[in-house]
């Protein structure tokens, strides 16, 4: 109020002297972002014919102003024009900050979305929407295999888990729109609960370089970004329809994006997939149908200095699990391995019966950001995730329609990040993150809980810096600390408790004794440190080298700690271990990137030494009324992985391009001096693409995908005495030997048609496994039972509008 009176007083005085017109308004125009002076900014007094232009230091001066109220319009070729109100009562000095923004906007229109690199020195690679769209009817894991060094661990062809340089599951973080996906990711049969169509860009960071997202990325981080909102009035969208012969499936996805010049935006996206039994060249893979219904919606405000984003995504999948892979005993497994054809083949159907998975994932997120002048940008995020996983096995009687696994996982995460970027040569990130997670296994399944009731609390803090040492050298370093507490309530069979020796080590955590089982309350704390150190060296205009050292630290996941029971798809009894410690990796990676006019390449060798690497390994045989079962227990060993990813691209002439990707990983258990299990086999993919721009942008590509035989594997074969042809025979069960290598050919073709000024139709025709080759893949858990997929014709219609 006081200010108002003073203002009024000044205004009155000003009015009295209104005739006097010799005041000067002067000052400086600077970039809001980093405080840099802006040269050649134009200042215009609105309503008067008075102009001024800033000099090299951003200074301006407007002379001969009368006292009064003025509106000053400040404009700059690279900035958004901004209006400022000012009242003049005497000669005034006033600095203006304007948004150095239009430049970004221009890039958006010229080059499409602009996604920043996640790390300075880490080896990372991105998939753009054009590539992702090809996998619209597939899964995230399939799309990621386009990146050399990324393979997948499959259960059939619908459950596809990405593997980065030999590591997967809990060792690979998946970030959906800034939120770390918590979708029971520990399970090898659990596909990421994420629709590939919801991402406009996916970046894979190999290794632990992206500390902001977590310190436990021994394998790497997969960052999926939704479309960045442009700051202009626009409405655009696309619809993709796909149909496939194998599985006789259809899928369609649509998205719509509305943005306003004011910074507001709203968008939505939805996908439906429906397919039936898949087929190998020779037989139907019964019960491998797949349904998916996903959508995401978001809205927000994207001003230069502040904004917010609200986002919700829903993923709902019903996935049939190959009927022939559900087995009751080791005898069944032996039969499966020895028979060339599965024991259960029915006619094609769209029906999905047990065994199957029914998974739903909700993710709600709210984030705010504010930019501070001469400092940087503060982000504040809150997210809530709810994951519901139902798994149905083949059961008897009244339980026939009851799931065998019924898990509800709720995760709340609160995180903040401050990017300090006001110095030209120096960027720093500081952040803190805390989360609370609760797992509830529904007891109505009538089956002992695979994963117990638990609560998990985490708190983390990190700092990273990027420093431009010179034009050629950019250095980076980061450190992160994670605290993890897990507080579980789990029932153990008395016999198991004793067999594991817990009655000696953990008797004090028993809180209840029942007839044949007991309730234990393990509470474990883990303190994890992770860090990264690296440099990016620009050798010349064409060559860039990156050097990165990183260390990641991961606490054992609930499955590694608590698993306790029979796995129906593998006929093994899996046992967790309460004694497990955290695992820590030390990784060194180099990446060399060359960009010449018609030739590009990347070379990416790495070595990863992991202390207390958690592995699942054979631990004897156990007799039950169903026969003998091999027991696999979690254990820790020191391990070493090394390998190389190579990518090259050669433009033969205006029309032909050759693309080549090669990846090799060598994993070794140092304690037993033998290879690690489930390491991707060396693979080499070559693609020859013909493109003729003048005729509907015709593109035809032939790809050869060669996967060599994995010669390095641990011998986990075991022998059991089982009845064979009425005789008790000691039988060797060959579960270790990888299948033979294979070479597949894939054909792709596409054409574009302009529908009208704003709409474009693309038509694609693809043939996967062109020669209908029989093959089995080492990293497919169903390789014991069936061949992999036969030939598949796909058509895809894409309409951009």
């Amino acid at each position: 109020m006081k200010h108002f009176f003073i203002g009024l007083l000044l205004f009155t005085i000003g009015s009295i002297h209104a005739q006097k017109c010799n005041y000067t308004l002067s000052g400086k125009v600077t970039d809001f972002h980093d405080g840099d002076p802006l040269f050649d900014a134009m200042l215009k007094v609105v309503g008067a014919d008075i102009y001024a232009v800033t000099d090299f230091d951003g200074n301006y001066s407007i002379n001969n102003l009368c006292a009064g109220e003025y509106t000053i319009e400040v404009s700059h070729p690279q900035c958004e024009t901004t209006l400022f109100n000012i009242s003049i009562t005497e000669s005034t000095t006033r600095d203006f900050n304007i948004e150095h923004h239009a430049e970004e906007l221009k890039q958006v229109t010229v080059t499409g979305e602009k996604y920043k690199n996640e790390t300075n020195s880490g080896s990372e690679e991105s998939l753009k929407s054009e590539t992702l769209e090809k996998f619209s009817s597939g899964s995230l894991g399939d799309a990621l295999k386009e990146i050399s060094g990324v393979s997948s661990l499959n259960t059939g062809s619908t459950v596809v888990k990405p593997v980065i340089q030999g590591l997967h599951s809990s060792r690979v973080l998946i970030i959906n729109n800034g939120v770390r996906l918590k979708d029971q990711e520990w399970g090898v049969e659990h596909a990421p609960n994420l629709d590939v169509n919801s991402a406009a860009n996916i970046t894979v960071v190999k290794g632990a370089g992206a500390l902001r997202y977590g310190g436990d990325a021994l394998g790497g981080v997969i960052v999926t970004d939704p479309r960045i909102a442009p700051v202009k009035d626009t409405l655009f969208g696309k619809t993709i329809f796909s149909a496939a012969s194998n599985g006789r499936g259809v899928s369609t996805t649509s998205s719509l994006f509305k943005a306003f010049k004011t910074g507001w935006y709203v968008n939505g996206q939805g996908t439906i997939k429906y397919s039936g039994d898949l087929e190998t060249p020779d037989y139907v893979l019964s019960n491998t149908g797949d349904r998916e219904k996903d959508f995401s919606v978001g809205f927000g405000l994207n001003k230069f200095s502040y904004g917010f984003d609200a986002y919700y995504s829903y993923y709902d999948a019903e996935i049939g699990i190959l009927r022939a892979s559900h087995i009751g005993s080791v005898s069944d497994l032996i039969r499966a391995i020895n028979n060339l054809e599965p024991n259960y083949v029915e006619d094609f159907t769209y029906d999905i019966n047990a065994p199957k998975q029914d998974v739903k994932h909700h993710l709600a997120k709210m984030s705010l950001f504010k930019r501070f002048e001469n400092a940087g940008k503060l982000n504040l995020d809150y997210s809530f995730q709810f994951n519901k996983r139902l798994e149905y096995d083949i059961r008897r009687g009244d339980d026939r329609n009851t799931p065998s696994l019924d898990l509800e996982l709720k995760t709340h995460t609160l995180s903040s990040n401050f990017t300090w970027d006001s110095e030209n040569d120096f960027t720093a990130n500081f952040g803190a993150e805390t989360s609370y997670q609760e797992n509830y296994p529904n007891p109505d399944t009538g089956i002992r809980r695979l994963i117990p009731d638990y609560k998990m609390y985490t708190a983390a803090g990190y700092a990273t810096i990027d420093y431009n040492l010179s034009d050629d050298w950019k250095l980076d370093a980061g450190l992160r600390y994670d605290f993890v507490r897990i507080d579980a309530l789990k029932y153990y069979l008395n016999s198991r408790w004793e067999e594991r020796g817990y009655d000696v080590d953990y008797q004090d955590i028993v809180i209840q004794n029942l007839d044949n089982q007991l309730l234990a309350n393990p509470v474990f704390d883990y303190n994890n440190w992770s860090g990264t150190l690296g440099a990016k060296y620009t050798i010349d205009n064409n060559l860039v080298a990156r050097f990165n050292l990183s260390s990641a630290s991961r606490s054992p996941n609930p499955s590694e700690l608590f698993s306790d029971g029979l796995h129906h798809s593998a006929a093994v009894i899996e046992l967790g271990d309460l004694r497990l410690k955290k695992e820590q990796s030390f990784k060194a990676a180099v990446s060399l990137e060359g960009n010449y006019s018609d030739f590009n390449f990347t070379l990416n060798p790495f070595i990863n030494r992991i202390q207390d690497f958690i592995i699942l390994e054979p631990n004897g045989i156990q007799q039950t009324t169903r026969g003998a079962f091999p027991v696999y227990a979690y254990n820790q060993v020191d391990a070493r992985l090394f390998g190389i990813d190579v990518g090259a691209q050669y433009q033969l002439n205006d029309n032909f391009e050759l693309n080549s990707n090669f990846a090799y990983v060598n994993g070794q258990d140092l304690e037993r001096d033998r290879p690690l299990i489930d390491m991707p086999a060396p693979n080499w993919t070559n693609t020859l693409t013909y493109n003729y721009k003048n005729w509907h942008n015709l593109t035809v590509g032939l790809r050869s995908q060669a996967v060599f035989e994995q010669k390095r594997f641990p011998d986990n074969d075991f022998s059991v005495v089982i009845p064979v042809n009425s005789e008790q025979v000691e039988t060797q069960v060959n579960v270790s030997t990888p299948p033979a290598g294979y070479n597949l050919f894939h054909l792709s073709s596409s054409m574009d048609f302009n529908v009208n000024e704003h709409s474009k139709l693309s038509l694609g025709l693809y043939v996967d496994n062109l020669l209908d080759t029989d093959y089995r893949d080492y990293l497919n858990r169903q390789r014991y039972f069936v061949d992999d997929l036969g030939r598949n014709f796909r058509i895809q219609l894409k309409l951009n509008y």
Binding site: M366, R396, P441, N494, S495, E499, R626, P723
Partner: protein, 193 residues
């Protein structure tokens, strides 16, 4: 600036709503109903001898303890026994008779009997129709066991869930083409005098 405040308020209220109350519930124990702990083979002879009973009992189900095998009575050579099977889940109280479930889904179950070294044969004496409709295919809860010359060896009982009963030899008791999943597989060391 006003919108900024609203956003902050919205943000905090979301936090407040979602910070759920902490209920320290003790989870209820689960006693699995489908576990098969006990297989009892009862053989009644037409003669004066007592019944011969083979029992396999594994009270911790898929737990680490091995099944306890017990053979009661002695088989005689060249004798006909009428056999029956009792399948139990003894982890629950009252004890659950899995026989009832097998009878209800007789068409989805079949027992197989195999000898090794022991001179004996078995014949099914029940069909699906005896229990719950179905057709003439055997189930195997009831059977006849004929012993030959005095011998010793093993006797294996296997229960397959969802076997292909129409496959060659399966309804005569040949397991080779049966398919399906193994629910029970238990071997007894037996002899006859």
């Amino acid at each position: 600036m006003k919108s900024y405040k609203i956003i902050t308020l919205l943000f905090l209220s979301v936090l407040a709503i979602t910070s759920c109350s902490d209920d320290d519930r003790i989870p209820e124990p689960i006693n699995e109903e489908e576990v098969i702990t006990t297989v009892i083979v009862t053989l009644e002879s037409s003669g004066p001898d007592d019944d011969v009973v083979f029992t396999s009992q594994d009270l911790d189900g898929d737990g680490p303890d091995e099944p306890t095998i017990n053979i009661e009575g002695k088989l005689r050579a060249n004798t006909t026994y009428s056999g029956s099977l009792t399948i139990l889940n003894e982890t629950v109280f009252p004890v659950e008779e899995i026989n009832e479930e097998i009878e209800e889904e007789a068409d989805k179950h079949q027992f197989f009997f195999e000898f090794n070294g022991f001179d004996g044969t078995t014949t099914y004496t029940d069909t699906e129709a005896d229990y719950n409709g179905g057709n003439d295919n055997p189930v195997g809860l009831k059977f006849i066991l004929n012993t030959g010359e005095a011998s010793s060896g093993t006797f294996t009982v296997t229960l397959r869930h969802e076997p292909d009963k129409e496959a060659s030899g399966v309804s005569q008791g040949d397991i080779s083409n049966a398919g399906g999943e193994t629910d029970v597989q238990q071997t007894f060391n037996i002899s006859s005098i």
